[in-house]
């Protein structure tokens, strides 16, 4: 290392690499009430949402800045009557669109309008392969509409992915879920082990799998991988990080490849980062996307490796997993700058292990997602 004159102006830091992807959370409103939802407990009210004009501007800025892909998500994005305009704005900005939906409210007319606006692909959630169980987890009769939505998307020729969040109540149904995906002719089946943020964190004790359950589900996935032909659906297993002892490379790194715009215009490095109390995230109403990405303190905060403490600081995996998830570190230790406790090298790993090993027979009921404070949230029937 060479000593530099402290009075000399520092060379300007190189601008961070540009983002590839934008998660556009168009609304927190949703007809379903899934207890694993990662939306914050304090849901943004409809009156505080960005307008279609503002989203048009967001898409324009994003395309200009290098974003090539957007997930139009929520809540349920179909609840925005102006969704078609937002899709058209993304398409005009050269951004590839994927609708992330529960399927509720997707009829033929709506789908044609969205396709005409330039919608490229659809990811459909289902809560279970069994209609009654799916409706129960969703807190509303919805399986029939999902089935219809899948058929419509297929008929329109759009690529279709099926996303199933896995937890204690449906992990034993992995075979049936894959069969459902096959019968709906989907291109991709995402078996996403529940992550614990927002409502999902509130419901962790109810949702958390047991080790046996996970082992069985993993075996089932392996068997399907051997059986599925190359033109069959792609099978994606999103790892349960509480159980693997390995930190996930959350978001591909903080402010590294993707950004989230929340319903009220808050711009975040990841959707869960709204939970960090002292982040002070910027808002797209006040600042440009370029400034937010390149210069905002919130996006620089945990970018790269300089912020790391031991054990991450000197770990050979730090460039690959980026020290795991900041929001999880905060949720479990109260300090977002600590190593993600999911990592077995973390001094706090005992916290996660205790949760994972404690396969409780007595589980609390899932508190279903609903607007207002969670104390008032509806309980499972």
């Amino acid at each position: 290392m060479t000593l530099t004159d402290p009075a000399a102006p520092a060379a300007p830091a190189p601008a961070p690499a540009r983002p590839w992807a934008l998660l556009a959370e168009l609304t927190h409103a949703c007809p379903l009430h899934c207890g694993y939802c990662s939306n914050p407990l304090e849901l943004t009210r409809r009156s505080h949402e960005l307008t279609a004009e503002q989203w048009t501007d967001v898409m324009g800025q994003a395309g200009e800045f290098g974003v090539v892909h957007t997930h139009l998500s929520g809540g349920e994005p179909l609840l925005r009557r102006d969704l078609e305009r937002i899709v058209a704005a993304a398409e005009a900005a050269g951004v590839y669109t994927q609708l992330v939906t529960s399927g509720v409210g997707l009829d033929g007319k709506r789908l044609s309008a969205l396709t005409a606006a330039g919608l490229r692909s659809v990811q459909l959630s289902v809560q279970h392969a069994d209609p009654r169980a799916s409706d129960r987890i969703a807190g509303r009769r919805s399986f029939g509409e999902k089935e219809r939505a899948a058929a419509l998307v297929r008929a329109a020729g759009l690529p279709l992915g099926l996303n199933v969040v896995l937890h204690h109540e449906n992990l034993d149904a992995v075979d049936a879920v894959v069969e459902l995906g096959l019968s709906w002719s989907v291109d991709r089946i995402e078996l996403a082990n529940a992550q614990f943020y927002g409502w999902g964190l509130l419901n962790r004790a109810a949702l958390l799998a047991t080790r046996d359950q996970l082992a069985r589900a993993r075996d089932a996935v392996e068997r399907w991988r051997e059986r599925l032909t190359p033109d069959g659906p792609e099978l994606v297993w999103v790892v349960p990080d509480y159980f693997d002892g390995v930190a996930k490379p959350c978001m591909g790194g903080w402010g590294a490849i993707s950004l989230t715009v929340a319903p009220d215009g808050t711009v975040l490095p990841c959707p869960a980062a709204a939970s960090l109390p002292d982040l002070d995230p910027p808002n797209i109403r006040d600042r440009s996307l370029a400034w937010i990405w390149d210069h905002s303190p919130a996006f620089s905060r945990y970018r790269g490796t300089d912020w790391m403490a031991d054990p991450c600081r000197t770990c050979s995996r730090r460039e690959e997993d980026h020290g795991g998830c900041r929001c999880q570190a905060y949720a479990l230790t109260g300090d977002a700058a600590r190593t993600d406790p999911a990592c077995r090298l973390s001094p706090d790993h005992g916290l996660v292990r205790a949760l994972a090993e404690d396969s409780a027979d007595e589980r609390p009921a899932v508190r279903q997602r609903a607007p207002g404070r969670p104390e008032k949230a509806r309980r499972l029937p």
């Binding site: 800045f65 090539v68 590839y96 690529p159 291109d187």
Partner: protein, 90 residues
Amino acid sequence: MTATSVTDWRPVPAPAVLLRHDHTRDRDLLLLPERVVVLQGGAGTVVGLCDGVRSVRDIVDELAERFPGAPVAADVPPFLERLRHKGWLR
């Protein structure tokens, strides 16, 4: 394998796949529902010729004319075959 010889095949991107030039990074990309593929070298030019009208033979001839001396006859057909195998070309 299908009965059609590879040179008669008229490749075209699968409906989910979009070839796009990224002006910010000056790269050709394939955009898919869950991924972005950054095409290296002249790969974008090759995929750009896959319009469902030109056969592989036409594409090779056209590239050979545009890039004299480049090993297009040897490289392009297996490259297209690899993209077909991934489901990105049909």
